[in-house]
Amino acid sequence: MRHRYDAVIVGGGGSGLMAALHAARSARTAVLSKLHPVRSHTGAAQGGIGAALGNVGEDHWEWHAFDTVKGSDYLADQDAVEIMCREAVDTIIDLEHMGLPFNRTAGGRIDQRRFGGHTRPAPLPDQPDRREPAYRACYAADRTGHMILQTLYQQCIKHDVTFLDEFQVVDLIVKDGTCRGVVAYEIETGELHVFEAPATLLATGGFGRMWQVTSNAFSLTGDGNAVALRRGVPMQDMEFYQFHPTGIHRLGILISEAVRGEGGVLINGRGERFMERYAPMIKDLASRDVVSRAIFDEVKAGRGIDGRDYVHLDVRPDTVNAYFERDGVRRPDGSPARITADDVRRKLPDIADFARTYLGLDPVTDPIPVQPTAHYAMGGIPTDVDGRVRVDEVGSVMPGLYAAGECACVSVHGANRLGTNSLVDLVVFGRRAGKAMAADLPSLQPQARDLPEEPERFAREALARLKSDGGTERAVEVREAMQRVMTDHVSVFRVESGLKQALDEIRELQERFRRVRVDDRGSRHNQDLLEAWELGCLLDLAEVTAATALERRESRGAHARDDYPQRDDTDWMVHSLAYQTQSGVELRYKPVTITRYAPKARTY
């Protein structure tokens, strides 16, 4: 079946919905989503969305930008960071006007809490560069993402945005270097649909399902990235993948950084608050890469809980208040900081619920066992600051193709994303992309209708092969093998030998994938088929991740090489661009944009 729209948006999470709201004001827009949009993983974001509102103590967007650049280990493009942090402020106000139920200060303004890596100057006579945690994260309990997703979906209903739910995009239509739409598989019927559109936005989220332990939903398989990669679009900075320090042990379920923002501390098997050693200034609120490495180091040194592979996240009021007192932590009004059991239950209700449900414990009386969990892709589809996809090192745009959110790489996160900045990225760049799509339409329309012959052929053949007889491999086994090799060799710490092995094994798995067959030959809700197809996406992205990590011979942000432990600004202050070619992954590099924040050593 053929459909025609001005703008097609692939993905119904935060960035897709934000873009839809803005594009739909003047363009005929459809949102395609493989899930019902309210199931999107934006809804799982917990702790907050950063913006220098200054509602709880002085703050400025330039401070937010500095923290973001420092958090990125100076790999973020600073022009994009400046736009994000400046526009974050009025985007948050926009969200409030849409009805988002933020927590409030006593005076009725949007309340803000502390979060990892977000700081403000706190100079002392002998320490002029000293900083302290800033109250910058706007929040709604520990359900901030849920509220953003709900609010944006509500607004889409109000403004009558067209949704095609449970349509899974399986190919991009590219002809003569121009994107002309997408091919989508209708999950309920098994039918392939062709969507012709002068403007297409990819907003498909992340791909954390590449690893064994992840905070990511089953749906996060990098579909948008993979279809773009296969059509000649490079992936940028794929070696940088964030492991969130506090996933529930074994399960990977996210325990928000807000727990530490409210005063929670990480404790090792000896009862030590070990972050004091790794980040003397802001300790447990250091950047995620720093904290995840610290946990790995503690575990490796035998200082996990009972010598095992996890540590404790302790937010018991007695513990928190003791450390508040020891550190002299004060509220913005100058009074000594304190928390009560009621504060924990009120400000972190979902965390308490997860702990109770999955661990049978209460964070008010018990510490939570945590380990780093695969969480967020800093890398992705390269774009300009309006979501237009760039396909080479000089910034050439593929007309008609846009990307926003986790699947994209603007780049505002560089080598390591700060907490709250994923939500900031979604709303700021989702909005910009939606506006740009509408504005660009007149120049895109003339060529859009010229489609290749039988645009769905490639997708049809790929799906038919998975359903054909003769295959001998099972998708679940190949998937588990991929997750194992990525966890063993392409995780928090990396080394050449391991990365080489990973790359070899992933290529073998890609071979095995060609022989996968599925049980379900039906056409309705054939998840067996789609899971297998998604595995192909993950494998292609795993190959790129391992290849880029192998090549980058330095340590920066989330990319920590045992064999190259130092950051190397002389040779490696560059973004990687990875292309899929017949002979494997081809790498190119492009410079980082630096505006006002000169690279310096990164300490917390």
Partner: protein, 233 residues
């Protein structure tokens, strides 16, 4: 431990209608029912169809009737339901395949209550002010994840599927009690109709079913009282 799971299966393209199928899988008491269903799918029968995404109770995809009670499969641990588990689709919506139901009527009822902030006045340059007490007034109903566990556990809904159901009323409550909202009159037509709140007979199934611990029946009561007292008009 060995878990015996009995699953309601249905393939619209095969003759014979719905049937029960039994499977045995190895699992730990701390594992979820969803992990058991995944094990069935990945080890025994790839054709099993169910919706699931976030895997920790926040996306609302996997509301199922588990041992006769509506729950999220990813939030239900084996230690709480025992080694014999029966899983069926939520009741009252058309079954499309296996554990998947047609959610369109549910979302149509959700849309009918105008589930968005209605505030016609031009907003101020900064955020609107709202006190913590005003924010607290509707906090409970902001938690809804639209999983349909409440609506599909409601006998009034089973007997008349034109009843908008608990979930839609929860969504209406979220806005009716938001100090910023001015849309009460616009929603009254839906809420005060014969298919509106008065179909609720306070059976409390919805409250029991809610995986987000929303006091659904209580909130429906608040909406009823607001209509009677005319405090929403």
């Amino acid at each position: 431990m060995e878990v015996h799971v009995r699953i309601r299966r249905f393939d619209p393209d095969r003759a014979g209608g719905a049937y029960w199928a039994d499977y045995a899988v190895d699992a730990e008491p701390g594992d979820t029912v969803l992990s058991v269903l995944n094990a069935v799918k990945w080890q025994h029968d790839g054709t099993l169809a169910l919706r699931r995404s976030c895997n920790h109770g926040v996306c609302g995809s996997d509301a199922l009737a588990i041992n006769g009670r509506n729950r999220l499969a990813c939030k239900t641990l084996l230690r709480d339901v025992g080694p014999r588990v029966t899983v069926a689709p939520i009741a009252g919506l058309r079954v499309v395949k296996d554990l998947i139901v047609d959610m369109r009527p549910f979302f149509a009822q959700y849309r009918a209550v105008k589930p968005y902030l209605i505030a016609p006045d031009a907003p101020p340059g900064r955020e609107r002010l709202q006190s913590p007490e005003q924010r607290e007034r509707y906090d409970d109903t902001t938690k809804c994840i639209l999983c349909a566990a409440c609506t599909t556990s409601c006998p009034s809904y089973w007997s008349n599927d034109r009843f908008i159901g608990p979930a839609a009323i929860v969504q209406a409550h979220r806005f009716l009690f938001d100090s910023r909202d001015r849309g009460a009159a616009e929603r009254l037509g839906t809420l005060d109709a014969v298919t509106g709140v008065w179909r609720c007979r306070t059976v409390f199934n919805c409250t029991e079913a809610c995986p987000r611990d929303i006091e659904v029946t209580r909130r429906i009561g608040e909406v009823k009282r607001a209509i009677v007292s005319g405090s929403i008009d």
